[in-house]
Structures are given as C-alpha cells and as structure tokens.
C-alpha cells in the first residue's frame, strides 16, 4: 500500500495519507550527538524539513532548538511513527528518539 507523506503549511505539519498527524512546537527527547553536546537533546520542533518512509516507519528531518543548551540545527532522519493497515500511529513523544543509523 502506498503511503502519502507530505510536509505542509511551511513546515508546520507532517501529513500522512492526507491527515495532519505530527505538528511542530512539541518537545522531543533526542539522542542526537551531531546536533548538540547534551547527553540528550531537548528539542523544540520548529519546522519539518522533509518526511520519508522506510518500510512501515515514517521518519522526518526537523529544524529545532535544544532548550537545554540553545544549539539549533536540522536533525538527521528521525523515526516519528508507523503506518499499519493504512493508519498512522505516532511514536510515544516522551520516549527518546534516535536518528536513524546510516543516514
């Protein structure tokens, strides 16, 4: 089944199968040593830059700021949810997210 993925409204949304699913302005805990030196990045998601899918896993590159240290930048591909039977389920936002390896 094809999954339709889009970044909408100047980076405010990730749309999955024509439904606005993941929004900016949330805080994500990231294991992202390339973005800042914090043990875990406490990232305010300001903009979605791009979205893609690998199998059933939807991933996005986002621009944001670590509110612990102030570093800003664009992340690598971060898995944000999964599509099952055409339905998108976002990963638990309180869990640590990791940049996909090999990107």
């Amino acid at each position: 089944m094809t999954t339709r993925l889009r970044v909408l409204d100047d980076g405010a949304w990730v749309s999955v199968n024509d439904s606005r699913e993941v929004r900016v302005s949330e805080l994500w805990r990231l294991d992202a040593s390339d973005l800042c030196a914090c043990e875990l990045t406490d990232l305010v998601v300001e903009n979605f830059q791009s979205v893609g899918v690998d199998g059933a896993t939807v991933a996005a590159r986002v621009y944001g700021q670590c509110i612990a240290c102030g570093s800003t930048g664009t992340t690598g591909w971060i898995p944000i949810g999964r599509v099952r039977g055409g339905e998108f389920v976002e990963f638990d936002r309180s869990a640590v997210r990791r940049v996909r390896q090999g990107e």
């Binding site: 409204d9 100047d10 980076g11 929004r23 305010v44 509110i67």
Partner: protein, 585 residues
C-alpha cells in the same frame, strides 16, 4: 524535483480555483475527497482561505487584502457585518469575545472560524462592496503595502496611492504572475517617513528624486527600487538596493519585470529557499539589475536617485511620527486620526461603531497601518474635539500608553499551525501589566514590543525595541511556553534587526524581565538617549544582564502547551473535546 505544492499548483491554481471552491462550498466540506484535501487547502490560500490548525477542522481563516490598508467609505462596515455574521465559531476568546476582526502587519484583515459553506455568500458581499480575498495568501502578489495615508499625508513626497492601485489592478488576476515560487510582498511608499517599511519586503519602491531632462536640470520625483527583504525563518534580510530609479508611470514595468524574474529564476524545488531574498543572496544586487535590464524591461533603467531615507522616522526608535497614532495634518487641511488597536484585534461591535464614527466625523474612509492600528481620515478641524470625545476612543485611543501603542502580536496558537506559543491575549496581558507597573524614563514615549509565535515573524519581531519570539523551556522540570528576547531592532535611515540576547525566558517571567530592562535603561542612559541607541552601545552579554527574568505578580494562565488544546480558552480544551466539522447549512 518540484515539490508537492508546485505539482498541485501546476494542475490547478489561481483564478480557476474559485469554481471548485464554490462547488465544495455548495456540496459541503466533506465533499472534498480525503486524498485531495492537502492539495485543495494549499490552493484555497490563493483565494485568502487558510485552514485553521488541528482541533479546528473545517474552519478557515479568511484574509481580506486591502491595498495600502485603504478601506473606502462603507467597506469597514462590510467587514464588521461579515465578522459579526460569519466569524463566529465554537470557541469564545476571553478578551475579545465571539466575533472580531484582526488588522495585520501587512495592512490586511483576518477573520477566523469561517465555514466553507459560507464562503460564496461572503465573497458576494465583499465583492459588492469592492473588497476581495484574492491572492491574500498563496504564492503570488500579496497585499501591497505602503504609507496608509498616501494621497493625504502632509509629509508626502509623491502620492503612492494611484501607483499602488494600478499595481493591484494590473497584477492581481494576471495569470502570468499568478503562480510564483513563493509569496511576493511589495511595498510602495511616497512619504518621507518610511512608513511603508520597504526594507522588509520582497520588492520596495521608496521615494527619490532624480535629475532628468536633456541637461538634467529638472528634478523629477519617483522611486528607488530595493529587492529581497524579509524576516522569516531566522534569515532576516533588508531589501537590497539594485541602483534603479523609476518614474511613477514606469513602476508597473519594473515591478512586473522583477515579479517575472522571480517567477522564472526562483527556487521551485525547495520552498525554504524560494523567497526572492535568497535569489538576491545568490546573485547579488548587480546581477538582479542586469537580468532585469536584459530580459525583462525594454527601456534603459536609470540609476538610483537621491532618496529621503535620512528623514525616515517610522519605527525608527526616536523622533516624531514613530507610528501614525494621534492627530496629524492632511495636506488638504483636514486631519487623520490614528487610533490604537491593541494587538490589532477589534471586536465586531467596535468595528461597526468605528464605521459609524468614520462616517459621522470624516468621509467614512478608514485606513490600516502596518502597526496593526486604524486611521480615520478626513476629519475636519471643527469636528475633531467631538470625535476625540467619543467613548470608543477611550478604548481605541489616539494617545495610549507607550506599552499599548507599541504592542504588535501575530495570531499565535489560538489558530495558527506554526506558532509555538499563545500570542495575542498574552501580549494584551503583558501590555496591561507593563502599563500598570513600569514607567519609562522622561521623554521616552515610544516603546515597541512585538510578539511573534515562531520564526515566521508575522509580528515583525526583529524590528522592535523588544522582540519576543515563541519558544519552549522547562521550569521546575516541566515544559512551559517561553520567549526569546531580542533588543534594539527598528527601521529608519539605518535599519537594523534586533539582537537575540536572552533565550527561553518562561512566559510568566517576561514582564518582570522587561521591567528590569527598563530600569537598567533608565539608570544607565545618557541624557536624551533613545532605547535603541542605548542598546546599540552595549554588547550582548551586557544586554543579557539587563534582561533579568523575574517572577512578579503577573500571572500567565497559558503556560502549558496550548497546541495540545483544540482551543486554548475552551473550558474543556483537550483534543478529545474538539468540535466536529461544521455541518453544511
């Protein structure tokens, strides 16, 4: 590879969207196929309709483009009646009530909670009264801005209003300029005060004199041209001087040439790199000029003329006419009266009452400034005192507190998908607290505080004395809404953007931070020194120390993540309590 948006635009865009929009309105919101909604919502923007954020599915923001902020007699009443009848949704704003109009930093009007089924009736009423939402959003010519009192201003060098009207009539509805890589913001200013804010626009025409004629003995008045200004996305740019002077009758040729240049050379593969400011970065001003000359105009461009930038006062940090609030002379001997509209939002009842007053005391015309305020024009001297005594002017004052008149705020999380924080109601609370608790030093009667919910910069935060931008932080371990604080921005002869000196101040500590900042300013300023000059002579660590965040008796009821609500002010605000899509009626 072209973006989805480019693909959608290449299929249907511009004028032809209207027919489908009306069909959907007739058949109901649910008639938009699920797999076409993203595309249609993008296209609807060209007709001034922007789908509100999640939790508010099926409701739209409607933007009415009023060129140069001019509302001809009767048009404000139309806006008030539409707001009263149609801009009512399931959520009530605790400050502004159920129906209101927002006056924007681009001299436009925004209404919220618009249902798709009402759009044809609204369009009919707007168009009967000479108003339109066309191209108010989307990738094309946006509302043209300028000095709102063009044609009337006693300080005018050249009347820009016919030029703006001509541009509006020429390039709106023109299919050759309907689909640009991104928005195209144009400013045309004819006064010597800088109130068109050309420096922050994609394309700016600013008043300038040029020696013309065979022996160059004649001094003609026209415009110098600047290209590539803008504030969004942490990439603020001042428009670059491309060394072109143009007489008024040639403005459409140059404006159309630059719009076509942008259409043809702008980046359609990366929307983040699409604005013309990035093309100017890449090419430089000289190449923009050379390309315009060689490919887009069929006459020889003149070099830049003698500008009047040294006279600019608007949002310049000091001097007279920092804004257009208060009573000012028109060149015909009448007066225009600028009234404060705190954060640009006015209840529908007040809009209608203002329309009455404008007819009673003036010509009925009202104009909108880029500081989100309204201006009643054509008030004769003998009607002035009575007008100023009207009860409505106690609230929308011609002589408000500096903290009230200096407040600008964007839409924020109440409706906007991009914003990180609540804005309009918060800036109202800030302004009221500052008015009650903070005294500016003697002689300082202008103090601009702009609050923008995100880096899109719709409240133009980078050109304020105090710039506030939405962020998050943790307080006692809990995530709370926060603001980055920037200082010392402004326009004028030598515009400069604010320096972001203090990051992530919890919102409840911001009023205290501003109070402490003003205290440091009062204690350390040189005699007669403006705030902007004071900021300019301090480095960022010194300024950071002046911004001392502090809890006070200010209380902020919106510390939490307002984006996780369907509407921040609802009694039951969770997404699960969101109203259903409006029924067709």
């Amino acid at each position: 590879m072209p973006t989805d948006v480019e693909n959608w635009k290449s299929e249907v865009y511009g004028n032809e969207v209207r027919d489908r929009l009306f069909e959907f309105a007739e058949e109901g919101y649910d008639s938009i196929p699920d797999d076409e909604r993203d595309a249609w919502f993008e296209r609807f923007k060209w007709w001034g309709l922007y789908h509100q954020r999640n939790g508010q599915e099926g409701y739209f923001m409607m933007r009415i483009g009023t060129p140069n902020g001019v509302l001809e007699p009767g048009q404000l009443r139309t806006v008030g009646e539409i707001a009263d009848e149609y801009a009512r949704g399931p959520g009530t704003n605790p400050v502004f009530g159920d129906a209101y109009a927002d006056f924007t930093t681009r001299q436009s009007i925004q209404l919220h909670w618009i249902e798709l089924s009402d759009v044809p009736a609204i369009f009919e009423k707007l168009e009967e009264n000479g108003l339109s939402t066309q191209q108010a959003c989307g990738d094309s010519w946006r509302n043209i801005v300028g000095n709102p009192v063009a044609g009337k201003d006693g300080q005018e060098v050249i009347d820009a209003w016919p030029v703006i009207r001509n541009l509006n009539e020429t390039f709106k509805r023109d299919d050759d300029h309907a689909n640009l890589p991104r928005k195209w913001k144009v400013s045309v200013t004819g006064s010597a005060d800088g109130s068109g804010q050309g420096d922050i626009n994609d394309l700016a025409f600013e008043p300038a004199y040029k020696s013309v004629g065979d022996d160059e003995s004649e001094d003609a008045v026209g415009f110098n041209v600047r290209v590539g200004g803008g504030l969004a996305r942490n990439e603020p740019r001042l428009a670059r001087d491309i060394d072109v002077w143009v007489p008024p009758e040639r403005v459409p040729d140059v404006a159309g040439g630059l719009s076509a240049l942008f259409r043809d050379y702008g980046d359609r593969e990366d929307r983040y790199n699409a604005r013309v400011k990035f093309l100017v970065d890449e090419w430089g001003a000289d190449e923009v000029r050379e390309t315009l000359q060689s490919e887009y105009v069929d006459f020889e461009l003149k070099t830049a003329g003698r500008d009047v930038r040294e006279e600019y006062t608007y949002n310049a940090g000091e001097g007279e006419r920092n804004d257009l609030i208060g009573v000012h002379d028109q060149k015909d001997g009448q007066n225009f009266v600028g009234l404060n509209v705190l954060v640009g939002r006015m209840g529908a009842d007040d809009v209608l009452e203002l329309a009455d007053l404008a007819e009673q005391y003036g010509s009925g015309e009202v104009r909108l400034s880029q500081r989100q305020n309204v201006i009643v024009t054509d008030v004769p001297d003998d009607a002035l005192d009575e007008f100023l005594d009207e009860p409505l002017l106690e609230h929308h004052a011609p002589d408000p507190s500096p903290f009230m008149r200096g407040s600008v705020a964007c839409t924020g999380t109440e409706f906007c998908s991009l914003s990180i924080v609540e804005t309009k109601n918060r800036q109202v609370r800030f302004a009221r607290w500052l008015k009650a608790n903070v005294d500016l030093p003697d002689g300082v009667d202008e103090f601009h505080v702009h609050l923008s919910g995100c880096t899109a910069s719709c409240a133009q935060p980078q050109i304020a004395d105090v710039s506030l931008r939405g962020m998050k932080t943790r307080k006692d371990g809990e995530p709370v809404e926060a603001l980055d604080v920037g200082l010392g921005g402004g326009l004028g002869e030598n515009p400069q953007f604010a320096r972001w000196v203090t990051q992530r101040v919890p919102v409840d500590e911001v009023p205290g931070a501003i109070a402490n900042l003003v205290e440091s300013f009062a204690a350390g300023r040189d005699e007669g020194e403006s705030f902007r000059a004071f900021v300019a002579r301090h480095d960022e660590s010194e300024l950071d120390a002046f911004v001392e965040p502090e809890e006070t008796d200010y209380e902020d009821p919106m510390m939490h993540n307002t984006k996780r609500t369907w509407y921040p002010y609802a009694e039951h605000d969770s997404m699960e309590d969101a109203p259903s899509t409006p029924a067709d009626d």
